[in-house]
């Protein structure tokens, strides 16, 4: 069964995410880099990898359609994706159903419910509980904040981070002064910000949302000339590249381009060389690791979907943990990724650097 299909047929791996949006670009580029590297070294057992790229726009409806397409394409061995928790959760219903379920590994869906969505759904990033706790600790201890206002994207990722941060921050003794939802449909942030100010202000703002939401919020803050300490989840990774006054924003991340290690150095330089000096984000690094992880599994067990799943679930228990650019990837017996630490980065000179090495 290992030698499934003829050797001149490429091995197909699906890639799904909002690639037309800035947040999804690094994920696609890094995945393509990994595929190019593997194919250049002879592919998997002599077979080339073909990446089937489908843009889901981060929308639930499109994500379900893309998932259905991958699921029904029997030559698709596994899927790298989706990017956000909302899309990943919706697509998981498709991937885990029926007679021929399909593995999907998300590089960045951080909602804790993702790993419970089904036996074929995995995430390699730290979940919101880890991010929320880390951000709350940073705000309370490092920044000395006692009053924090939370602005959250009204989706799975935003609500997840809001919940874990509010709980951790309250437990530390701080006070969450407000929790206001937003979405692309929100007419503007001004009423929320004005109300926070009228009600005594806040030492810091937590921005639990997407890159687009962050852009809008920062623009509003700039226009209102509010100088506010801002913390964000990994959803706003990439904000440093926009001229929206992102300097000094703290972001919790599972991966930082400047984190040490030879694997990361090689990846970063290859990425920069291939994409004109741009740096990968945590989504790209995760996707890069996932492509290499899948190629290693397919080399062992072939393209059979259930065998890929069984081997993948055993990484860290029955098989060696995978040593990737984001660190060591391993799963516990429940399929949850373990030992994924979070670092706090800060935007300095339009780059995210480790806040701890300041």
């Amino acid at each position: 069964m290992v030698a499934c299909g003829s050797s001149d047929q490429p091995i197909v791996i699906g890639l799904a995410g909002p690639f037309s949006e800035p947040s999804g670009q690094s994920m696609q580029l890094a995945a393509q880099l990994a595929v190019a590297e593997i194919n250049q070294q002879g592919g998997i057992g002599g077979r080339q990898i073909e990446l089937a790229v489908r843009d889901d726009s981060g929308s639930v409806g499109v994500a379900v359609r893309v998932a259905r397409y991958f699921y029904d394409s029997l030559d698709v061995a596994a899927v790298v994706g989706h990017m956000g928790s909302e899309a990943t959760l919706a697509a998981a219903r498709v991937y885990n159903g029926g007679d021929n379920p399909l593995v999907s590994i998300s590089p960045s869906a951080s909602n804790p419910y993702v790993s419970d969505a089904g036996p074929y759904t995995f995430q390699v990033c730290p979940d919101d509980d880890v991010h929320g706790a880390q951000l709350a600790d940073w705000a309370y201890r490092q920044l000395g904040a006692r009053r924090v206002a939370v602005l959250y994207e009204n989706d799975a990722d935003g609500r997840g981070l809001r919940a874990s941060f509010s709980q951790s921050f309250t437990e530390l003794g701080g006070r969450v002064v407000s929790e206001d939802p937003f979405s692309p449909a929100l007419p503007g942030f001004e009423p929320y910000l004005t109300r926070i100010r009228l009600r005594g202000g806040a030492d810091a703002l937590l921005l639990a949302g997407t890159l687009y939401g962050a852009q809008r919020l920062l623009t509003t803050l700039n226009s209102l000339q509010y100088n506010q300490t801002i913390l964000g989840g990994d959803g706003i990774d990439g904000i440093e590249a926009f001229d929206v006054g992102a300097e000094g924003i703290y972001i919790s991340l599972g991966y930082l381009p400047d984190q040490p290690g030879p694997r990361n150095d090689a990846f970063k330089s290859a990425y920069q060389e291939m994409y004109g000096g741009r740096l990968p984000d945590h989504r790209g690094a995760g996707a890069y690791d996932i492509v290499y992880l899948l190629s290693r599994i397919i080399e062992r067990v072939g393209t059979n979907r259930s065998r890929i799943r069984d081997y993948l679930a055993g990484v860290g228990t029955e098989a060696e943990p995978f040593d990737g650019v984001t660190g060591s990837i391993a799963f516990d017996s429940a399929g949850n990724v373990v030992d994924r630490s979070v670092v706090i980065g800060v935007v300095r000179n339009s780059q995210i650097v480790s806040a701890e090495i300041q």
């Binding site: 639930v60 919706a90 009204n154 979405s183 929100l186 007419p187 503007g188 009423p191 004005t194 009228l198």
Partner: protein, 567 residues
């Protein structure tokens, strides 16, 4: 026993038939139970899924209505209670949506609708929160405008909710229909397997009955043929092992009977030939004895004539002269008579010798026949053993039939046909036993006949011994006659010689004549003795002939008895 041979026994066939039926019924039972379980578990699963989905949906609908109501209420009165209800309602709704999505019995289209409802709810929440913020800032017009946007999302969401409920109903109906189809299919399958297994069991039962009935008919025909005395080999053909054993026993019985009958036929033929020989010799002997008797009578009359002649000579001695003249004549006459007697005696001596030889032959023959009869008697022993064998077989068969009848009774309705067969087997055993008795009777008759013949033979042998002594006595008498006659001749010659010369010798002649007269009387009495002995011999010979006839008749009877068997 090879599997193929095992298949050829009644036991295996009956077991196979029963097993096929039981297996078929078990398959039916398993399918039936499986179908019931499947239907039941499917019904349970589907109902649980439907119940869970509709319960979650109902709660979700209620929660969403409650949240939207709280949002509107906060816009109106700005109460803390309303804003808390709005927030709690939102969190509860998200939880219910997540649980709804996690339910396994949800169609993909339903999931898409729920996702859309979720999105719309999220939008409505955001827009109501925005409107609330505007209201908190005292911007009533902006708040109302924002609420208007929120209401558009909310009403779209409620429209989708009603659509989802309708699809739930349709889905329940479809589930019921598919369950009904599944149940019908299973029912059809159960009926098919049931009918098929009954057919297979019936086919095996019919095949088994046939495999018993046909060989049984052939065995019965073979037994009837044996009973009618037709002992030729029977081709019984293929049959189940138990019946084949019976067939083999019958075949061996036929062979043994055939050998026996052919030996009896041979012996009776030989006996008949011996009786015929005996009869012929008896007749010859009788004829010879008659001849002896006749000759003896002639000897006797010759001697009487001699006595008369001598008396005449004595009277004539008175008148010697003329008598002397006659004496020469008389002496010559006496010489002639003596020669005749001598000749006759010689002749009969030879005849008696021949008769004696014939009698010895007869005795030997009788002894030989007696030996054969004894052998015949011995030969009947194995027949008794065969009869025992037949009786054994019939009692075993009887037992087998009884067992079969019990098995048939145990099998109930299925065994009715076989119980008839068992009864036939039992009847066949009885017929075999009766045939054995019949053969036993026949053999006893033969043995009685053989014993009678043995007695006859013993008597014949004793008689043959008597004949020997009589013939020896006759030979002795003849020898004495010959001796006397020789003296007569000598004396008569001397008389004839002296009569011419000496009258004085008349006294001497008288004395000689008297002596001659005494001898003649002795001769006469000896002759009578011989005649009596010859007559007695003749009677013995006749008796022997009668015995030979009896023997011949016995042989004939024996022959006709065994001729009844066709071997």
């Amino acid at each position: 026993m090879t599997p193929l041979a095992a298949l050829n026994t009644l036991r295996t066939r009956i077991v196979l038939g029963e097993a096929a039926l039981v297996a078929g019924l078990m398959v039916v039972a398993v399918i039936g139970i499986g179908a019931l379980r499947t239907v039941r578990s499917t019904v349970t699963r589907e109902l649980e899924a439907l119940t869970a989905v509709s319960a979650q949906s109902n709660t979700l609908v209620t929660t969403l209505f409650e949240q939207m109501r709280a949002a509107e209420q906060y816009l109106a009165d700005g109460s803390l209670e309303a804003v808390n209800a709005f927030r709690t309602g939102g969190e509860t709704a998200h939880a219910y949506q997540r649980r709804l999505q996690a339910l396994p019995g949800l169609a993909e289209s339903d999931r898409v609708v729920i996702s859309q409802i979720q999105s719309l709810q999220a939008e409505a929440e955001v827009l109501f929160s925005y409107a609330h913020a505007q209201r908190d800032l005292g911007r009533r017009a902006d708040a109302l405008a924002g609420a208007e946007l929120a209401r558009a999302q909310a009403s779209e969401m409620l429209r989708l909710l009603s659509l989802a409920s309708a699809s739930q109903g349709a889905r329940a109906e479809a589930t019921a229909r598919s369950l009904e189809h599944a149940a019908t299919d299973r029912e059809l399958l159960v009926w098919t397997v049931l009918v098929a297994s009954v057919l297979v069991a019936a086919a095996i039962a019919v095949a088994t009955l046939r495999s018993v009935e046909r060989p049984m008919a052939r065995l019965a025909a073979a037994a009837r043929r044996f009973g009618d005395g037709d002992l030729r080999p029977v081709a019984l053909g293929d049959m189940p092992a138990e019946l084949a054993e019976l067939g083999d026993a019958m075949y061996r019985l036929g062979g043994a009977l055939r050998t026996l009958v052919s030996e009896v036929v041979q012996e009776s033929e030989r006996m008949a030939t011996a009786a015929e020989d005996l009869s012929a010799i008896s007749e010859q002997l009788a004829a010879t004895a008659g001849d002896v008797s006749t000759a003896m009578e002639e000897v006797s009359s010759g001697a009487q004539k001699q006595v008369a002649g001598l008396a005449e000579s004595s009277n004539a001695a008175q008148t010697l002269y003329e008598a002397a003249l006659d004496a020469g004549r008389a002496s010559r006459r006496v010489g002639e008579l003596g020669g005749e007697i001598h000749r006759l005696a010689e002749t009969y001596s030879t005849d008696i010798g021949a008769a004696s030889t014939a009698l010895v032959e007869l005795r030997n023959l009788v002894q030989h026949t007696a030996q054969q009869v004894e052998e015949l008697d011995k030969l009947s022993e194995p027949i008794n053993e065969f009869i025992d064998l037949i009786k054994q077989i019939s009692s075993q068969t009887n037992l087998l039939a009884l067992n079969a009848a019990i098995e048939a009774a145990r099998a109930g309705e299925q065994g009715v046909g076989f119980s008839v067969v068992a009864e036939e087997v039992r009847q066949l055993a009885d017929t075999s036993a009766q045939a054995a008795e019949k053969v036993s009777g026949t053999i006893k008759t033969i043995r009685d006949q053989v014993a009678a013949m043995g007695e006859t033979m013993a008597f014949g042998r004793a008689q043959a011994r008597g004949v020997g002594s009589v013939s020896r006595g006759a030979a002795e008498a003849l020898r004495q006659i010959v001796g006397a006659v020789a003296e007569i001749e000598k004396e008569s010659q001397r008389v004839a010689g002296q009569a011419q010369r000496n009258l004085s010798e008349i006294e001497h002649i008288k004395l000689a004549l008297l002596s001659a007269s005494d001898a003649a009387q002795t001769h006469a009495s000896s002759s009578e003795e011989v005649a009596a002995a010859a007559q007695q011999q003749g009677a013995s010979t006749q008796e022997m002939a009668a015995q030979a006839t009896t023997l011949h008749r016995a042989a004939d009877h024996l022959r006709s008895l065994v001729r009844g068997f066709r071997s």
